[in-house]
């Protein structure tokens, strides 16, 4: 094992990997900073590049972008009061008031430090938890794996949607799309209508590019027309390095954010925004001066920033050990690995343990690159917030085409991308969440494969899912997650009714 750890470290520390990490970090901070752009869009931009790079460099680039994007989101939240990413929304509450007081540098410095420590904490958790969880997962049989994937889907649906039914329906549409092509057990062609392109199914990455990039592109063009182009002109960024007194104040909030962020990151679907707001709330409760929160308290920046960066390492745990993505970004990471013939899951730690540790160490270096780049280039980076959209938006559109075409050198994938773009726009208009669909696209084949293998082995006896302890546990948790989201939906509905009555 120690040999694999060393090889993984050597892979991550190679100059080419470090260069890719640094490039990813710069791109991530830039993309994260620009309101309206998400980390997913940033990853889609570099996706064509990852097809031609070696797997180590590809994953280093993507991880740099992931970690950098989380930090970049806080820059615009602090400077403009507009979160660059949803995860940075809580940071704006106290970050922007500090800018209004002329302390932009102080706010940014605290955000950078907190993000770094949060990321570092989650790295250590990833390093120690992932191999052990992978060991445990190796003992899973088909019924356990089916129940685990099912649990992942239900947790994600319940977190990702205002309406549980719509979340589940979105996931079911994804499963129906996955059923196109050869079935995973017998290879029978299904729903192909005689088209050879459909035999290998819908490529997950072209679907993902369409679902995320096209609606965002259309929305950004509309927003741009309304003249809502942000600017940082007039904000002076000085005194970035935090003072010792500030460091003392943010110790506990950073600890709170790091623990909550890592834990919630491990849970599929919880994600950065929830972790950031819960950490903000706990930091306020733990503070001696809770009344300062919302008016520029440094603790109010540190806790959510540590949390949203800790989520990144946490989300890599289920992705690497179980092959279950925690959010859209880790879903894209799975897609990028699959393109290189590497399937995330417990076997990754057996068959390619060196590569698995390479990913973990690349995540570590992504955090290091992030803090160095953020402190060294902050003054230049903040100017990128007002990057001309007239160049950015068409470039994204063209790269979407290049990215989907380069998957299999086929225009078919480009049209699949467009179809999913239209589907994404339609779902947005109909208030349907897109994330459950995306995750069903990633997990659907595994779900069917494990279900059918389990039923074949048991001669059609469904009790096999309840007699295996792990399977029963996962199904129990899935039931709890569904009941929990029904109760939550009812609570928020009655609260909404009460609110509307009061407002009348």
């Amino acid at each position: 094992m120690s040999g694999d750890v060393l090889q993984g470290f050597m892979q991550a520390i190679q100059p080419s990997s470090l260069l890719a990490t640094a490039l990813g970090s710069i791109l991530g901070i830039t993309v994260g900073m620009i309101p309206g752009m998400t980390i997913s869009t940033g990853i889609i931009l570099v996706l064509p590049l990852t097809f031609v790079l070696d797997p180590g460099m590809s994953i280093a680039l993507l991880l740099g972008l992931y970690v950098g994007g989380m930090m970049g989101g806080s820059f615009s939240a602090i400077l403009l009061g507009i979160p660059g990413t949803p995860s940075a929304a809580a940071t704006a509450l106290d970050g922007h008031p500090l800018v209004a007081r002329g302390e932009a540098g102080r706010a940014l410095g605290i955000a950078i430090i907190a993000s770094f420590i949060g990321g570092l904490f989650s790295f250590f958790c990833l390093f120690f938890i992932a191999p052990n969880l992978a060991d445990l997962a190796l003992g899973f049989r088909a019924p356990d794996l089916f129940s685990l994937v099912f649990l992942g889907l239900t947790i994600i649906c319940s977190f990702a949607s205002k309406s549980l039914i719509k979340g589940l329906l979105s996931a079911v549409i994804g499963l129906a799309i996955v059923s196109i092509g050869q079935d995973p057990v017998m290879g029978t062609a299904r729903f192909t209508f005689g088209d050879a392109n459909l035999l290998s199914g819908i490529h997950f990455l072209s679907a993902l590019i369409g679902l995320f990039a096209i609606p965002q592109l259309i929305e950004n063009l509309v927003v741009n027309d309304s003249g809502k182009v942000p600017t940082t002109l007039g904000v002076r960024v000085a005194g970035i390095l935090p003072k010792l007194s500030d460091i003392r104040r943010i110790r506990i909030p950073i600890g709170i954010g790091s623990v909550i962020g890592t834990f919630l990151g491990i849970l599929p679907g919880a994600g950065g925004p929830i972790a950031a707001f819960i950490s903000y709330d706990y930091a306020q409760k733990a503070s001696r001066k809770p009344e300062e929160f919302g008016k520029g308290a440094v603790e109010g920046i540190a806790a959510p920033e540590a949390a949203n960066n800790a989520v990144t390492g946490g989300a890599l745990v289920p992705m690497m050990t179980l092959g279950i993505p925690g959010d859209p970004v880790t879903a894209i990471l799975i897609g990028a690995l699959l393109v290189h013939g590497l399937a995330p899951g417990p076997l990754l730690f057996i068959e390619r343990a060196d590569f698995a540790y390479g990913i973990i160490f690349s995540f570590f270096f992504a955090n290091i690159c992030n803090i160095v780049i953020a402190f060294a280039g902050l003054r230049i980076l903040v100017k990128l917030i007002s990057m001309p959209r007239a160049i950015l938006m068409p470039t994204i559109a063209v790269l979407c085409v290049v990215g989907s075409y380069a998957l299999r050198n086929s225009l078919f994938d480009v049209y699949v991308m467009l179809s999913f773009g239209v589907l994404g726009l339609g779902m947005k208009w109909l208030d349907m969440p897109v994330v459950p669909l995306l995750l069903a696209l990633v997990l659907g084949r595994q779900l069917e494969e494990h279900l059918r293998i389990a039923l074949t082995a048991s001669q059609g006896d469904v009790s096999v899912f309840f007699t295996s302890p792990f399977s029963a546990l996962f199904l129990g948790l899935a039931a709890i997650s569904i009941v929990w989201s029904i109760v939550n939906a009812r609570r928020s509905r009655s609260a909404g009714t009460l609110n509307s009555k009061f407002s009348e």
Partner: protein
Amino acid sequence: LIAFLARRDAVVGAVLLAIGIVYGFLTASLPNRSLPNTPGPAFFPWLITGVLIVLSAVLLIRALLDADHAPRQLVVDSDSRLRAFRLGWIVVYLAALPFVGFLGASVPFFAGMMLFCGERNRTVILFTSAVIPGSLFYVFRYGFQILLPSGVW
């Protein structure tokens, strides 16, 4: 009909119910190649059909019975028209790709998108819309050995 369409949940429910029924018909025509007591290729699609029909029916019925929520207005504002127009521009671009190739389609598409984004400087539009797609084309062709569509000529 307009009042029905204004209830978005009812629209989702009705559309998905119809999709579920069509999907069920298609599933019924799948070949049955399974061994006794084992699930065949149609097993999973049948599960999907069942869940899709049940969930969409629940959504439809709930939306129709929900008296508390008045149907929302279907608003076709200027933003909606802009969205439709820009999506149309992307569709035209992708339709032109196989005939005029990546460069032939991307340069005018890029210029149009820049105009949509509010850029009015002709020199900037001409220069950028030629340089960025051109660079991508050559970087992918000669750097990464990926041949982007070159059109019918």
